[in-house]
Each structure stands twice: as structure tokens, then as C-alpha cells.
């Protein structure tokens, strides 16, 4: 465990202690002012009820092979299990093309996919042509999947899109909060990102075209090093994903995309049509319920618990479901 992680843990413990004292202090005089504390009644309303009709139905949940997908796969799997379904997991399908083939062939019944990824990788939409509106992007994705006998369930609140990240220190030093603020200084700045980002219209190429400035230097690195280059000051800005756990953990800021360049990447659970039919009404209801709380901030936190605190995706998903009152 590094010093930073230790400090973070200590911080969390202190914050919890402080909260306990605060709650104890305000105590019984105003109980209504405690929105964080779910009352018993509310909790049981949120609790996923096990339905005996569902026990005959087996659902195989798949996922691609990175942190966020593991967590989502677990959240969906555990949610469905709570509703009484028999759930099998195949949470390591590799790239999107493999995952797509698996769900088409029926090796898995459902897996979470990003709207932007589906449009560009499966349905040959150029990155420039992806709708910037989240709902529109979802509708288009849904129509695409429908042709393959697949149903795309309504999307998550969070979007795991590209974003320009900087360390808080560097951003405030340069006085930057949104991407267009970079215009005057970009010539002296180094942008980092994956090798392919350099020539993609939803990445560096797009930023420079849409915002009308050029970065002084581009430093391609492998995807895993995208935060490290900021920490080591090898780059002033780096292309990160909006739900990266490192954003909270390493004090990064995401610059506001004020010209709406980056296409949305909300997650939709892609399910085989026959599974939707066989599973009945509980399945879409449970999925909608468990992902309701998955905002970008919550997803960052869940990702950071796995990537930085090295917790298991399984446990992180269970903790999320418990904290939200969906399971006991």
C-alpha cells in the first residue's frame, strides 16, 4: 500500500468518525434532516424482491475485460440474482468484437456495452457522426442492435467518454477550467493519450479541429499510463475517461467540454431478444433499478475502489447494492 492510499484510508476513517459524531450531535431533535440515512420503510421499498417465478430462468451475464465492465457485470448479476434468477457469469470476454459475437451466438445472454463503442465498432458510424445527445445516441444504438436480434436496455446515467484531464495544480496554475481556455497556451503544452488518439476525431484531432488550436507536442503512451504522465509531469494534459477512479484518487480535474466534442459513452445492457421474452418483466425493472444510482461520480468511486484500493469487483458491486438498499 502506498503512502497515498494509506492517507486516503485514514481520511475515509476520519470522515466516517466525523459523520458519526455529527449525527450523534444533531441527534433526536431533527430526524428529517438526514437524507443519507435511509429509513427502514424506504429501504424495504427499494429492496429487490425475489420472485419465485424467476427461479426457472437462467441468465448468463458477460462483460469485457476491464475494471468498469467487471463491476457492471457483477452489479447486474447480483441484482438479477436477488430477483430470483439463476445467474451465470462470463466476465472476461476480451474486446468488444468478441463480446458482441458471444451475445449474438448465445454464449452469453447479456453484456454491458457503451453506446459510442457500439456505434463505431459494430454499426460503422464514423466518430464525427455519433449523436452528441445521450438519448439520441442510445436510440441509434438500440436500432442497430435490434437488427441482430438484441435488445439494448435503457442506458446508465453515467457516460464513460473521453475527456481532457489535468492535475488540479497545473490547471489552477494556468487558470484553466474548460477546454477552450487552453487555446492561448496550447502551443507550449504537451498533450498525452493513447497512440491512436493522435489521429482520431473523437480525440486529439477532433479537439484541435473543433476548438481551433494546436498542442505543442503530443506524447503517445499506452492506455494504462494515462494518469501517470500527469503525475510525473511529462504531459500537461492527458486524455482520460470520465469515470476513471484516478480522477478522484489523484486529484485530477476534467476540463469542461464546452463545445460538446466528445461523443457520449453511456452503458446499455445488451440482451438477447429471447432472453428478454423468457425472463419476463422483472429483468428490465431490476436492471433499471440497479443502474439508477450510477452517476459519473459514483462510477469513479467504484472504479477507484478496484483500481486503486485493489478491492475485488465482486465485493465493490455488492457494497454498492447494499449501500443503495437493493440487497441486504
Amino acid at each position: 500500500m502506498t503512502i497515498q492510499q494509506l492517507m486516503r484510508r485514514i481520511g475515509v476513517v476520519l470522515a466516517m468518525l466525523a459523520l458519526t459524531f455529527a449525527l450523534a450531535a444533531c441527534g433526536d431533535d431533527d430526524e428529517a434532516a438526514q437524507p443519507a440515512q435511509t429509513s427502514g420503510e424506504e429501504k424495504s421499498a427499494k429492496l429487490i424482491q425475489s420472485n419465485p417465478d424467476n427461479t426457472a430462468q437462467t441468465v448468463t451475464i458477460g462483460s469485457k475485460n476491464f475494471t468498469e465492465q467487471f463491476i457492471l457485470g457483477e452489479i447486474y448479476a447480483q441484482g438479477l440474482q436477488a430477483a430470483g434468477y439463476k445467474v451465470k457469469k462470463q466476465l472476461n470476454l476480451g474486446s468488444e468484437l468478441i463480446a458482441f459475437r458471444s451475445v449474438k451466438r448465445g454464449d452469453v445472454d447479456a453484456y454491458p456495452e457503451y453506446t459510442g463503442t457500439a456505434l463505431t465498432s459494430f454499426f460503422d458510424v464514423k466518430t464525427d457522426d455519433i449523436p452528441k445527445d445521450e438519448q439520441q445516441a442510445y436510440e441509434q444504438t438500440k436500432a442497430g442492435f435490434a437488427k441482430d436480434g438484441l435488445t439494448a436496455l435503457p442506458p446508465t446515467p453515467f457516460t464513460d467518454a473521453n475527456a481532457v484531464g489535468m492535475t488540479k495544480a497545473r490547471a489552477s496554475e494556468l487558470g484553466i477550467t474548460k477546454i477552450s481556455d487552453l487555446a492561448e497556451k496550447a502551443g507550449d503544452l504537451t498533450l498525452s493519450g493513447s497512440p491512436e488518439c493522435r489521429q482520431r476525431t473523437d480525440c486529439k484531432l477532433g479537439i484541435e479541429r473543433t476548438y481551433g488550436f494546436k498542442f505543442g507536442k503530443y506524447l503517445p503512451v499506452e492506455l494504462a499510463s494515462r494518469h501517470e504522465v500527469l503525475k510525473k509531469k511529462q504531459a500537461d494534459a492527458s486524455i482520460v475517461f470520465t469515470t476513471d477512479g484516478q480522477i478522484v484518487a489523484e486529484d485530477l480535474v476534467v476540463l469542461e467540454d464546452d463545445k460538446q466534442l466528445f461523443p457520449p459513452y453511456n452503458v446499455t445492457l445488451v440482451v438477447r431478444d429471447e432472453t428478454v421474452k423468457a425472463a419476463g418483466p422483472d429483468m428490465p425493472k431490476v436492471i433499471a433499478q440497479v443502474q439508477e444510482g450510477l452517476t459519473t461520480e459514483v462510477m469513479q468511486e467504484l472504479n477507484s475502489r478496484v483500481d486503486i484500493d485493489k478491492e475485488k469487483p465482486e465485493d465493490v458491486a455488492a457494497a454498492y447494492l447494499k449501500e443503495s438498499g437493493y440487497i441486504e
Binding site: 464514423k126 491512436e196 489521429q199 482520431r200 506524447l219 503517445p220 503512451v221 501517470e228
Partner: protein, 254 residues
Amino acid sequence: MTTTLAFLSEFADGIEFIFSSRESNTGGVQVGGSQLLDLLWEHLKLSGVAVVISCLVAVPLALWLGHIGRGELLATSVANVGRAVPTLAVIAFFIAYLGVGFTNVALALVLLAIPPILTNTYVAVRQVDREVVDAARGMGLSAVQVVRKVELPMALPGIFAGIRTSVVNVVATATIAPLGGVITLGDPIINSSVYGDAGRLGASIVVAVLAVGTELVFAGLQRAVTPRGLKLQSGDAPRRRPFAFPKRRIQTSP
């Protein structure tokens, strides 16, 4: 049959990528054709720097070790360790601890290039006929003169064999440099989302040709630096031409 044809058409697409540029798969830029020249230049620059540095380090060291006849364990261990460590791991190590950029990637490639040169040079010097070295000493040559006038020339074929192995290794491995901040010919291979399969295949062909080409050039160099005396010693070597078909004698008279 159809799969063969499909493969051929992909192959043709890859070849076409090398010679003419096209819009990238994701749109917005022209890739292939003349754009590959920039990548090729960066590729050669990186490989060249790495090989030159590793020669400057390894050759003098191995010559000296070979001359004094010590450090056999070192020379062979370095080679074995060097071969056991995968290049990707070395590059990853450098990026993680030193950071990215031209210098760091070049250093990682130097580590890859040193072992074959070191070992080959060492062995080549040790294999110089001891009687020749003794004779040179007997004629009153100093240690430096022995190295310069006897051991080095006689070991040159071996030294170049090592360099040749390293160059081919480095040229082939420089394809992973785009992961460390240097945009080489590996760029189309790594980013198939931008360049498409044609780009991946086309760049692979270029790298393969480049590797085979450097192999041939250095094989020629190796032949050229071999002292004539050594060639004579090994029999008919000077008369044999590379890649020549045996001449068929035409009998003019019965």
C-alpha cells in the same frame, strides 16, 4: 479457395496502403503512402541511435574482456539474461520507472541490443588463434597493438555477426515504440482503429522488408570486413557469390 482469395485481396489492400494514402477509418486524416515516410524516418532514427550506442558500449568492453581473457561468466550471463527478459517487459519497465520519450525507448532498445554484440565479440576475440597472438607478441607488439592489429581484424566477422543479430532485433522491436511516446512504423500496427486492417498489414510488410533488408546489408558488410587472409583460409569463400545460380556450362564441342 475463397479463403485464399480473401487473403490475397487483403494482402493487395495492405500493399496498396503502402503506396497510396487514403482517409483513415475514423476519418479526418490521410494515412498510408507518403505518411509512412515520416514513420519510417522515426523508426530508422530510433533503431540507429539504439544500435550505435550499444556498439559503443559493448564492442570495446568485450574486446578488452576477450583480450585479458577474463569475464567469460559476465559475457555469457549478460547474453542469457538479456535473452530471457522479454523486450515488452523491458519497455514497460522503462516507461514505469523512467518515463516515456525518445531517450527512454532508445535506452530500452540498447539493453536489448547489447547482449548479442557483447557475447559475439567476446567469443570472436577468444577464438583468434592463440599462436597468431603469441607470434605478434613475440614480434614486440604492445598490448594495444595486439588488439588493434591482430585481434580486432580477426574478430571482425564475429563482431559483425553480433551487430547484425542486434540490428534485426531492434528494427523489429521498434514497432512497440508508439506505446512509449515515439511514433514509429508500429503506429499503424498498434492503432488498427485508425489505420484499419490494411494499415496494420501494410506496415507489417514494411517492417518485415526492412528487417530482411538490414539483415542482407549487414551480411554484406560482414563479408566485406572479413580480412582476405581469413577468406583464403576458409577455402573458396572469395569466389562464391551470394545468390548466384550455378553456371551451366555449355559444351561447344563434343
